[in-house]
Amino acid sequence: MTQWSGYLGLILQGALVTIELTLMGSVLALVMAFLAGMGRVSRFFIVRAIATTYIEFFRGTSIFVQLFWAYFVLPFAGLSLTPLQAGVLALGLNVGAYAAEVVRGAILSVGREQYEACTALNLGRWQGMRHVILPQALLVMLPTFGNNAIELLKATSVVSLISLADLTFQAQVVRSQTGSTLMPFVSVLVIYFGLALIISWGIRSLERRMARGLDGVRV
């Protein structure tokens, strides 16, 4: 039993790496999502074109390939990344591309009358976006952002392919060292599921807080 606790320690170390990747990847994804999502509704053709290219490219190629490029190909261009950096970069850019479409859709879902009120009150384009459109759009984005974050959490397992010791990687290590398949795989299953639950719960409570007052019932 003491032996198991040692191996469980290994798996928990892997879980920490997975959490780290998820958090950092989510931050990058969020930044990319807003940049590209708002770029997609820009007045300027060139901004729209850049945003669209980014989104289509990263949605259209596999995350494995993107990770391999970040880790194995970029060094040829003189940019060497640590496995963690490469993982965060690939995950953030990949999920950011999906989330960018969420941002764009949410911005477009805010009614035309809100934009017209902004014009009538003489708010500038950015002022209206910042104070009127985005706060309302954010509420529309949140549920899908939750999906994206969970997708990102699960996608972190690809970094085991560039020998980053995440949850999946550690499970393989424990399995090969102990010969036991059930214990490591049950552990990682439970841990991934637990982490996903935490994300769901976090997003839901954020949603509840932001929706307060909007329906006239809860204040």
Partner: protein
Amino acid sequence: MPAPIIKVDAISKSFGTFKVLDGLSMQVMPGEKLALIGPSGSGKTTILRILMTLEKIDGGHIQVDGEQLYHMERNGQLLPADERHLAKMRQKIGMVFQLFNLFPHKCVMDNVTLAPMLTKGVARAAAQKRAMELLDMVGLADKAKAMPAQLSGGQKQRVAIARALALSPKIMLFDEVTSALDPELVEEVLNVMRKLAAETDMTMLLVTHEMGFAHDFADRVLFFDRGRIVEEGKPDEIFRHPKQERTQSFLKKIIAAGHRV
């Protein structure tokens, strides 16, 4: 005789193949209260939206308060207005919408103070003081902290009026502001407008189906049909003795539908 505050000169506007405004010209004097009436699709709302720069024009010129609205003069040439020019011109004009268009995520107070703080750099305390005066004027001082969803339609519309007034425009546009309200809530909004007309010298343009109100409120009534002004005159002339056949048949229909004239 003072110069008109609004001069609309041969404006045309189409939506696709539908010609909404067909060489429309009109003038409004400072402080004048104008009612725009007519069947739907006649272009009366469109001209308000054009004055608020919510629609682009296809041709013609508009002068507001001595300056071109959609053009700017540069070295004696008339160029299409850029965003900065439009922003400057919008300061002169405020608008109240049929569906209120309040910001649902902001409380009443923030709805009213947002634009003065952002566009005029008014300090929060000063903006809130002014907002309280305006909310008091529309009879909603006790609702400053409420969210729009907690208000009735009439209350929402009164907040929307206060919000537009907070920017102190010279011209106020009212686009069917009571059309979306339950009948028993119409009067509270009309009362605010009567008060506004009595206490300020603002120029007010009003698109409405409330013929009784238009009659009492307006200095002049314009009857729109198919993108043109068919007939205009004092309320008594238009409502009691309309000369044009189209005006007569429109008013007849309105009365038949149960509206008071």
